[in-house]
Each structure stands twice: as structure tokens, then as C-alpha cells.
Symmetry: C2
Subunit: 524 residues, 2 copies
């Protein structure tokens, strides 16, 4: 009975381990860091100790923080200068044409940028692996798990090297949207991101989706994967693939839910935490509140283009300001750079604005945004319809989802001008269905058994308590494509059937010949 | 702004609608009713009004209850007499041989029984549909939703006839395990129930699984579905299929989780509520507690064969009693019928036993069970390892899952005797891994963000608040198989590719001919 008591004791100790975990965070920079940071602060508040791997060329990750310790490693190649240049160039291209060739050329440039970033990122990890002192320190720290954003592979590789459970804070991975890596994604009703398709497609749309899939597949197989192959072979053995290491993650905290994503298959270890960064709005500073109140019954328009794009070209901002000037609403616009000459009295330009508090303000009628996931999910949380000016990356795709639900009007950055912008604003302001549908979407999003941030914390602590989440995780990724889709089994059964059929026919023929020749002899 | 205020008001009213819903329950009888009843009592406790459709030949559904009203309809054909006969016959067959032919013949009998039950069940629904007074009454009652167990189709059909949202309390459906109907279930790692396979299969096992799938498919298509076809055509139109009505359910409360099921794809509208019927144990009656305590350090064995099988044949009970008699443990055995002559002093026979309180007692070492889902999930909840004597239906399959996790020893009812039974008991009693692994499984099962019963209630009330759960529900089932698997798209793209290739070759040939004949002329 001593054994049993020990077991019971172990289970008890195990269950009570909630506080005092140790988490190693391998973040992605930029807007991805903004929401990872929300998770880190909450982990800290719950008594966990967080250590962040911080690249030397970081945009936002502070070296000293009351919430986490840092280990600074060499540059990740995701720096603001490189990236800023790419962004300005892309925006420029888009303003000068939106043909299919422009799109392909933008895609190509993006791929080239990602390729370079991946290369640089792996170089950084290589240096970490080779730094025996650092590796020893990481080992000795006895972390419970690695929390990472798998849009790049650093955290996955480091986690496996340290033999630690992996938790993902994920929306994108190196091969596209997060689900694609582990959940069955039938191309007949799961649209490939950027294809501008919903879960209900015509035949032609399904053909389009299929071709987008093929494109994505080749992109991953021939452009991004070749970066990882030699690295993984060198460090983990010749029969190991990056994809497997990555698919083995214990919990996927997906920055998504089904007010944003179309309904689709999922997996038991996927937890939806869309909007986990959102919180109720706080009162505005007095001057801003006065400005907002001065809008009267017309309400307020809020506009921001996110953290990545500091300023739009002058011709665009002139048009935007002129459009705003014609409306009776008040406008609060986060804008850096030259003040537009067309600016109206109703428009307040700010360097920075309290976005969450403004979106949660009852006077806010429309949010003009670029379509980053964070902003769109904040709009859903607060129930504010959108006018979209998507610029880069997944922004068009995010807005497509919102437009297909009737809660956003989306504009093409390549062709937007004053009239188009004004018309879009008026449509969302005065066609009540936008607000109605957004309120409905918001009420669906908020009606969950548990707050998304609490869900995230629960599952991170679950992984601490149970040293992973093996029972929720399929290992079907270890199969080849032929095995996974039972192609070998079908071929085998077909062969057996054909052989049996042939033998049967031969036997019947033989019997028939016997009988026939027999009767022939008889007849003779 | 008036419009907007109305919307806001509607959203507020909508969100606050938690209490006071009206639920129409269309249950399945037998053990399925036992757990549906748990849900009904909780709905009642939360202030909802429940009405139960009760067949006149019910086993357990009382006409008068403090928790629900009833509407008695004609016999469902699921009566104890018919079923009892089938069960005794099957058990008899199994005792006299366990060859493949016996198995097939048992399967055939089961199918015949289900076929008859389905026919009778549809007859009952037909009568309900034709009873205009009753239908009017059901319409006028303005129910919020239909809660049903879709192992038979009555609740689905009635729900659609009344135009109400559907919530399933489900483990089995007319075409097998619940997931199969709506979640992708790759045959390469999702074992078909009764195939005795896990999620990790060899090639031969995958072939077996594929063949079980084909068998199930034909069973549903040619034996069960033909019952529904004419009924659905008559009442819902010629282009409607039962499968579609059924796949359109809003929420699937699945009596399952991943301590029981192997990891597999799932859908956003599937909620896992395995063990929702479980609760902490209460103290035992004094005499039973004294008996349990008298076991000292050896502990107690609890045995019951469920509600469906009242008594085992005499030769089996004699062997079981004799085996128990040889152990130092105390035994509490729910047994009806003749007292075995081999009964030991350590064994207490009871007509009924407080199963939950006994399983939760710290002295309980082993649970000898038949493998009904309820009992197995209670064993997981309380962390008691199992010795299994599966008799019918899914019991073998339930135990296979437990055995594959090392928490149960399973016996073949066809061949069990005293020695085999005793050996199995000793193995589970004295090999510590059984208890260890069951405690681990139990701790995983209990470690959830929310109690399963609360989850069930949350999602039922969610459906009340939002009149369904459309955003969580794929409508991909409306596609044909060819569309679903993109076979048409692949055929189209292949054709385009081949035509393009042929044209290219022809063009090259043409050019080459031109050049060649040109040079020929030149040379001449």
C-alpha cells in the first residue's frame, strides 16, 4: 500500500503546482510582441517566473522589465530598418498599380524578405546552440516549458534542444495559417488565407483555393523549408524534419476564434484565445473626453494604421483628411508626419491614442484601420464596425473576413482617393446593418465559458502540471502523406479485389471450358 | 441613432436571457436516460422549464417528476421485454463460441434489432406529426431548443419540424460514433469503434480499420438509412436527407473526452462533457462502511454488470464467486438471481449498490464492470482501475480504450472461468502500474477549465441566447463527396494540365516540323 500512497501523494503535489512555474519565452518582435507581452504580464501576476530571449536588434522588447528577465542574443534580422524599407517599397509599388504582376512581385519581395529573416534567425539560434555556457544556464534554469510564437522557428528549435514542452501563441507559422499544420483542412471549405474566399465556395472558387494551396505548398517546400533542413539535420539527426518538431507542440493557443475564422475542423490541443489582449475601456483623459463629447449625436471616427507603418504618402493623407473634413462626426486620427493641408476642424491628429479606451467609448461609430489582427479583434470585442485600408501581409485577409460578415467596408490602398474614402465612411456610418452585425458578432465573441486570457493561462499551467499535453496531441504527423490519406491501404485493397476477381473469372472460365468441352465430347 | 439604441437594447436583452428557457427533451431510454436525467435536473435547478417526450413503453422515464413535465407518446419499441430477450440470446451465443461466425451472427442480430427499433421509432414520430393537436401544442409552447440523444432520429426530426435549434447529448448516432458525422476522421489514425485499434496502427491494422469503415458504411447506407429515407422525403421534401438534418445540429455535447477517446480531429461546435454525471462520493451507510473498513489494508473490490443485464448465467456467477472467495480483499457485488454456492465470506451480495460513493471510497482497489460508458467514465473520475467483462454493444470497445492505456484488464465473456477471472483480479490488484496510470488519467480528466456539467449548461444556454450556434457550425455536409474531397477540382486541374501539355507538344512538333522541313528544303 506504500506504493499507492506515494502515487496519491505525487498526484496531489502535481495538481497543486500552479504557482511558481518557470517559463522561457521566445517571442517574435513587432505587433506579435505586443500581445505576447500581455501574456507575460499575466504569467507574472500569477506568480510565474518569465525569461525572455531578446534579440539585440529588437524593436520593442525592453531589456529591463518588472515582469520578466531577459537573455539578449544576437540580431534576429527582424529589425525596423530592414523591414521599414521593405514596407515603404511595397506601399509605393501598390500605389502605382494593382495588376496581377504587381501582386506577384509584392509576394516575391515578401518571400525574399522572409527568406532572409529566416536565414538570419537560424544563424542566431546556431550561435545560441554553440554557446555552451548559455545552453548550460538554460538547462540549469529548469524551465517548465517554452512559450513561443512559431511564425519563425527559433522557439521550437530551442524548446526541443532543451527537451521542454512547447506552448504556442500562434496565428501564423512558417507554412501559413496555424491550423494548416495540424488540423485536417479540406480545401473544399477551408479557404487558404489571402485567397479572399469564405467557407462556401462555387466550383471556380474551389479551383482558385486549390491553386492557392499549391502555391503555398511550393512556397514552403522550396523557399522556406530549405533554410531549416540542413540546420535540423545538423542538430537533431538526419531523419528529423522541422515540421515534425513543430507539429509536436503540446498546446496551440490560437489568436483566433469563430467570430473571426470561418467554421473549420480543429484539434483537441488547439485553444482559441482571440481577443485575449482586450479589456474594458477606461475613462479618457479630460481633453480627449471633451473632444469626443463635442461630437454630439454624430459620434466619433477613430483612425490608426498600426505600429508597422509610421506614415502614409502625402497624397493619401491629403485625400483622407479632405474626406474627414466633409463629415459632421469628430475624428481622432493617429498620424505621424506632415499635417495635411486639407485637415478639417473636426479632426484631431495625435501621435499616439488610447485605442482600447476610444474603441470602448459609446460615442465611437467607426474604426478606420489597417487590419492587423490585434486591431480587428479589438474592434470585434468593442463592437465597432470597420473601414479598412489594408496595406500588407494578412491585413487584406483579415478584412476580407470582416467584410464577408458585413461588419467592414474594405478599400484598395492602390486606388483609394477622397471620394472613395468618403463614400465608404458614409456607408458604414449610415447603413445600420454594419453596426447591428458588429454588435451581434461582439456578443458572440464575448459569450464564452471563460475569458480568453484565463483560458491561455489555464492551459499554460496545465502543461506545467502535467509536463505536456500528450493525451490531446495526435502523432499522425509522423505518417507519410500516402499513409495519412490511406492511399497505400486503398491500393492494397484494390489489388486484392482485382486479383480475387481475376482468379474468380479464370476459375469460372476453367469450369466453363471443362463443362463446355465435356459436353462437346458428349455431343460428338 | 434610434436604430442603434434598439440594437444595443436587443443585445442586452439577449445576453441576459439565461434563466427561464424552455427545453423540449427527446431522450433515449435505458442507460442513456440515466445521464440525460442528470442534465434535466441541472436545467431545472437553473430555472429552465423542461418537457420530456416519453414513450409509453419506457423503462425508466417517470410520468410525474418534480424536474420536468412529460408528454406521453406511443411505444418507441425500445422496451425491456423485446430487448431483454435479444440480450439473453446474445449472451447465450457468446458463451457457446467466439468464432468469427458467432461475431457476425451477433452483429446481424443487433442490426436486425436496431432496424426494428428504428422502424417502430419512426412510426411513433409519424403519429406525433399527424397529431395536429399535439403539434399545435408543441408549437404554442415556444420552446427555445430541442435537446436529444441522436442514437435514434426522433428528436432530430421533431426539432426540424418545429423549426427549433438542436442540441445533442451524444455518444452514438445512427451511423456510429458521434464524431464520424461531422468531423474529418482520417482512417489512418481514427480507429472505427469495435475494431479494437488505437490511433497508432500498423499497415495491417490500417487495412482492418478501412474494412471496418466499409462495413459500417454499408450498414448505415443499406440497413438503417432506408428506414429514414421515405419518412424524410414525405415530411421534409424530396431533396432532403436525414443525414443533413442531423448534421445541422447546433451543439454536440459529446459524452467523451481525450482521457477516453484517442486524440482526433474535432469541430468548433463539439463540446466534451465526459463524466458530467460524476460527482464527489458521499459517506456510505453505516453497515456498508463497516464492511468496507473490515477489509483493512487489502481494500475492496466493487462489481456490477450495469442496468441492462439483470443476471449472468449460473456457471459464470459460480466461477466469479469462487474466484472472489480466494482473495483477501472484501467484495461488494451487485447481483440479482440465485446466490452462488461458491460464495465466500468476504463477498457481500447486494441488489443495488451506491456505485458512485463506493468508487470514490479510498479503500476501493478495483472496479469489475461490464464497460458501459457511464461506469467506465465514473471509474476514470474516481481513479479506480478496472477488470472488464464486456457483454454487448460498445462495451468491448470502451474497455479496449481503457486496456490500451494500461488501466484495465479485459476478459472475454465467452471463455471466462474462475482461474482467468482470479488471475485478472490479482494482476490489477498487485501490479501497481494499473493504479498509477488510472490516477494519472483521473487527474488529467479532472483538470479542466470548467466542470463538464457546467460546460453543457453553458452551451445549452448559449443556444437559447443566440437561437443556435451558426458561427460554430460548418455547412460542408451540404457538399457531395466528390465536392467535399475536391475530386472534381483535381480532375478539372488535371484535364487543364493535360490539354495544355498536349497543345504545347503539338505546337512544338509543328514548329519542329516547319524548321525540319524548311532545312530539308534548304538541303535539297
Amino acid at each position: 500500500m506504500y506504493g499507492l500512497t506515494l502515487v496519491t501523494l505525487a498526484v496531489l503535489v502535481c495538481s497543486s503546482l500552479v504557482n511558481g512555474g518557470k517559463v522561457l519565452v521566445f517571442p517574435l518582435d513587432g505587433s506579435h510582441w505586443v500581445n505576447m507581452n500581455v501574456m507575460i504580464e499575466e504569467l507574472h501576476a500569477r506568480g510565474h517566473e518569465v525569461t525572455v530571449m531578446r534579440p539585440s536588434d529588437t524593436w520593442y522588447i525592453k531589456e529591463d522589465s518588472p515582469y520578466y528577465k531577459t537573455i539578449t542574443i544576437s540580431a534576429a534580422g527582424f529589425d525596423k530598418d530592414n523591414f521599414g524599407e521593405y514596407i515603404m517599397e511595397t506601399l509605393n509599388m501598390r500605389r502605382h498599380g494593382s495588376s496581377i504582376w504587381t501582386r506577384i512581385s509584392i509576394e516575391y519581395d515578401l518571400l525574399k524578405t522572409f527568406y532572409q529573416m529566416t536565414k538570419q534567425g537560424l544563424q542566431t539560434i546556431e550561435e545560441v546552440f554553440e554557446d555552451t555556457k548559455l545552453m548550460q544556464r538554460l538547462h540549469d534554469a529548469k524551465f517548465d516549458l517554452v512559450l513561443t510564437d512559431p511564425a519563425t522557428g527559433g522557439g521550437v528549435l530551442l524548446g526541443h534542444r532543451l527537451g521542454l514542452p512547447l506552448v504556442f501563441n500562434v496565428r501564423w507559422t512558417i507554412q501559413g495559417e496555424g491550423h494548416q499544420a495540424i488540423a485536417p483542412s479540406p480545401l473544399s471549405y477551408v479557404p487558404i488565407p489571402t485567397a479572399d474566399l469564405t467557407d462556401r465556395m462555387t466550383f471556380i472558387q474551389r479551383v482558385k483555393n486549390f491553386m492557392f494551396y499549391i502555391f503555398t505548398y511550393f512556397q514552403v517546400s522550396y523557399v522556406l523549408d530549405p533554410n531549416y533542413k540542413p540546420f535540423v539535420r545538423r542538430h537533431f539527426g538526419s531523419d528529423v524534419h522541422y515540421m515534425e518538431l513543430f507539429q509536436a507542440a503540446d498546446i496551440w493557443l490560437m489568436r483566433n476564434d469563430f467570430t473571426f475564422e470561418f467554421p473549420r475542423p480543429t484539434m483537441p490541443n488547439v485553444v482559441y484565445i482571440s481577443g485575449f489582449q482586450c479589456k474594458p475601456s477606461k475613462p479618457l483623459p479630460k481633453d480627449l473626453e471633451d473632444f469626443v463629447q463635442s461630437s454630439g449625436e454624430h459620434g466619433v471616427i477613430v483612425m490608426t494604421m498600426g505600429t508597422l507603418v509610421e506614415k502614409l504618402p502625402e497624397d493619401v493623407t491629403e485625400d483622407i483628411a479632405a474626406a474627414f473634413a466633409e463629415l459632421p462626426q469628430k475624428v481622432i486620427w493617429r498620424h505621424k508626419g506632415k499635417k495635411p493641408s486639407t485637415l478639417g476642424n473636426n479632426t484631431l491628429i495625435l501621435d499616439w491614442l488610447p485605442q482600447n479606451d476610444l474603441l470602448g467609448h459609446p460615442k465611437t461609430r467607426v474604426f478606420v484601420a489597417h487590419g492587423g489582427t490585434n486591431g480587428v479583434q479589438e474592434a470585434i470585442y468593442h463592437g465597432v464596425p470597420l473601414v479598412g485600408l489594408p496595406l500588407l501581409f494578412d491585413q487584406q485577409d483579415n478584412f476580407f473576413r470582416m467584410a464577408s460578415r458585413g461588419v467592414a467596408k474594405v478599400l484598395d490602398y492602390g486606388t483609394v482617393n477622397k471620394d472613395i474614402f468618403l463614400e465608404a465612411l458614409k456607408e458604414v456610418l449610415y447603413e445600420p446593418s454594419y453596426m447591428e452585425k458588429m454588435k451581434q458578432l461582439s456578443s458572440l465573441h464575448r459569450d464564452q465559458p471563460m475569458k480568453p486570457l484565463d483560458q491561455a493561462m489555464f492551459w499554460i499551467e496545465f502543461v506545467m502540471r502535467h509536463k505536456g499535453a500528450a493525451h490531446l496531441r495526435t502523432e499522425s504527423y509522423k505518417m507519410s502523406t500516402i499513409q495519412y490519406f490511406s492511399i497505400d491501404v486503398m491500393a492494397f485493397l484494390l489489388t486484392v479485389f482485382l486479383v480475387a476477381f481475376t482468379v474468380l473469372i479464370a476459375a469460372l472460365k476453367f469450369v466453363w471450358m471443362k463443362v463446355f468441352s465435356g459436353s462437346k465430347i458428349k455431343n460428338e
